[in-house]
Symmetry: C2
Subunit: 345 residues, 2 copies
DNA sequence: TTGTAAGCGTTATCAT
DNA sequence: ATGATAACGCTTACAA
């Protein structure tokens, strides 16, 4: 690997000139255009790549951002990563993916790694409760800006972007109501997942508005700490066993909805003809399901983009003003995506 | 952020001692255990994190590996990343996720970034043809070890891990055959995807062995450059329109199978009662599908783990021997995963 | 325009 | 067990 001095020797220019040109330094404004072009050409041709370690050491800028996810194989996270990546792409910042694998131990190990690498910010997917607020404190305390994605935070230092769960749940139930459904069953999310409560509130509010009675016999509470296909299957099986009549189901999220549809199908009930089903999230598989799932989309990609943008703003403020920046709190509007799993009652 | 000298002042030990202890240097063997413990305690307490840039500059070890994927939001990639992450976790290497987004421009930009960051290796998910062999050459030429995952390579410098597509396809068709299916339809993958040909060869070989005639009227070739849900849907619609009888379908992969099942369902045919369907890959959604999909699993996580392990071996060899290392070529045995989408003819 | 030299934080070598 | 010092490659102020 070429050093700037070797490159200087080989090209006949001085290290100073090379550095000025390659960094577009203001001090280099009197260097002739010809020289600049020549230097860039030669750098390309000889394969000179300035050593980032030396650069960072000198400038104390790492241009690295940690992007932290509870589980990389979760499509919800993947979509967010996509958005974060796109937003960061045009910036000088390199995302460092940190996959916590829902493990405290991993998190702790990575904290050290990140400080050693002088990370300039943390963008954390925080939908899972595994990632406690206190865990992110350590970054905020060290003046590393933190943006949480997917959980409604209110924290002295931490910014956040999340979907408006209440409105989303409202959209879903309104859709069913408008299609004539009156006996609607609900599969509530696990208590440990913050979104559950917000979504339930949206449902209650809509029900009150249109004076739709919520029959507690049609409500099932999922157990466990995470939503899942199996959970949805179980919940629906339970509902069917009770023998209650209903023409539609609102599942906590898409995976739950998949499980529910599967249970309905096995029981010989056709979706949507005999029972409509709505999900939440709009994971990629929702569009491919059999039948394609009507759901509330929260554009994870958008969440990611917004999160990254907040980070970029924050870091820019911090570096120009030098002041601690107020955290930003954003809520994204959800969108109803109508597909084949719902029909008129 | 504390420097080693500040930490030395604050702790009363010398920078030398601190460095020796924190790095477990052999030269530090005569330092008392008590001192060692004390220094580690204080480092923790005062939050001393050695600056990696300085360290890397000095040692010319970045401990960074590029993990390159064509598209982070593809679950196939996500599963591989999971495996890579797990294997790398216990090593000193930090994965740097590079999401190419199927774009040449992005690839080129990242190449520069990676050289600047003195990446020590590249682990690339290469199932998509977007990632050409020649593109990876630039790393290999600069003595950066490259491991390709998901494509059978034979290259002078590049190692690779991939599933044995031929055997996999053989497993799938054998499963159908053993369940009494004789009129089997095939949805062949796009010509641009390398796997397609290998899988087809497995099918032909099995058919020859058991003297099963392959009726060309039951074979559809997918168009386009990638497999997809829509492609499967189209292909199946085409098959049905021809009016040919068949009791089972082998789809190119899981997404294709989902599309095919959807088309069958819409045509009023029950899966698996009236038509069995087999996929390939075993993406996460396969287990959740309606009905759950019988498929050939290729454990992407395993592929990732193996890929990362090959990298770790290679880099270790390279650093101890200093010699160029022979590339490793590994094929992973696929596994038949029987679920609900297939039954006896 | 270019050369010189200091300094970023760490580690390694020597001498103490 | 420690202190002094050089070196890793780059940027930048200053001098030429």
């Amino acid at each position: 690997m070429l050093t700037i001095r070797e490159f200087a020797k080989a090209s006949g220019f001085s290290p100073t000139t090379i550095s000025l040109v390659l960094n577009n330094s203001p001090a280099g404004k009197y260097i002739s255009e010809k020289t600049k072009v020549r230097i860039r050409e030669l750098a390309e041709k000889l394969g000179y790549h300035p050593n980032q370690f030396a650069r960072s050491l000198r400038s104390s800028h790492s241009h690295a951002v940690a992007v932290m996810v509870p589980d990389i194989s979760d499509p919800y996270c993947a979509q967010i990563l996509l958005g974060v990546g796109k937003a960061l792409y045009r910036s000088p910042h390199l995302p460092v993916l940190i996959d916590i694998q829902n493990s405290r131990a991993r998190f702790r190990k990575y904290v050290a790694t990140l400080f050693e690498r002088r990370i300039e910010g943390v963008i954390a997917v925080a939908n899972s409760l595994q990632l406690q607020t206190e865990m992110l404190d350590i970054f905020a305390k060290n003046r590393v800006p933190v943006v949480a994605i997917g959980r409604e935070f209110s924290h002295e230092w931490i910014s956040s972007v999340s979907v408006d769960n209440k409105t989303g749940a409202g959209l879903a139930i309104a859709h069913l109501y408008e299609h004539g459904h009156r006996r609607i069953a609900f599969i509530r999310g696990p208590k440990e997942v913050v979104d559950s409560a917000h979504r339930w509130r949206g449902i209650c509010e809509f029900a009150r508005e249109v004076s739709l009675p919520l029959d507690s016999k049609l409500v099932v509470q999922m157990e466990g700490t995470a939503s899942s296909y199996e959970g949805g299957f179980e919940a629906m099986t339970q509902l069917l066993r009770k023998g209650q009549r209903f023409t539609a189901v609102m599942a906590f999220d898409d995976l739950t909805a998949f499980g529910a549809i599967r249970a309905l199908t096995e029981a010989g009930l056709k979706v949507p003809e005999q029972c409509s089903v709505v999900g939440f999230d709009d994971v990629a598989a929702a569009a491919y399901y059999n039948p394609p799932l009507t759901t509330v989309g929260q554009s994870m990609e958008e969440l990611g983009k917004i999160g990254a943008t907040i980070f970029l703003h924050t870091i820019q403020m911090q570096q120009s003003n030098g002041t601690q920046v107020e955290p930003v709190l954003r809520k994204v509007k959800p969108v109803l995506v109508v597909r084949g799993s719902t029909s008129a009652a």
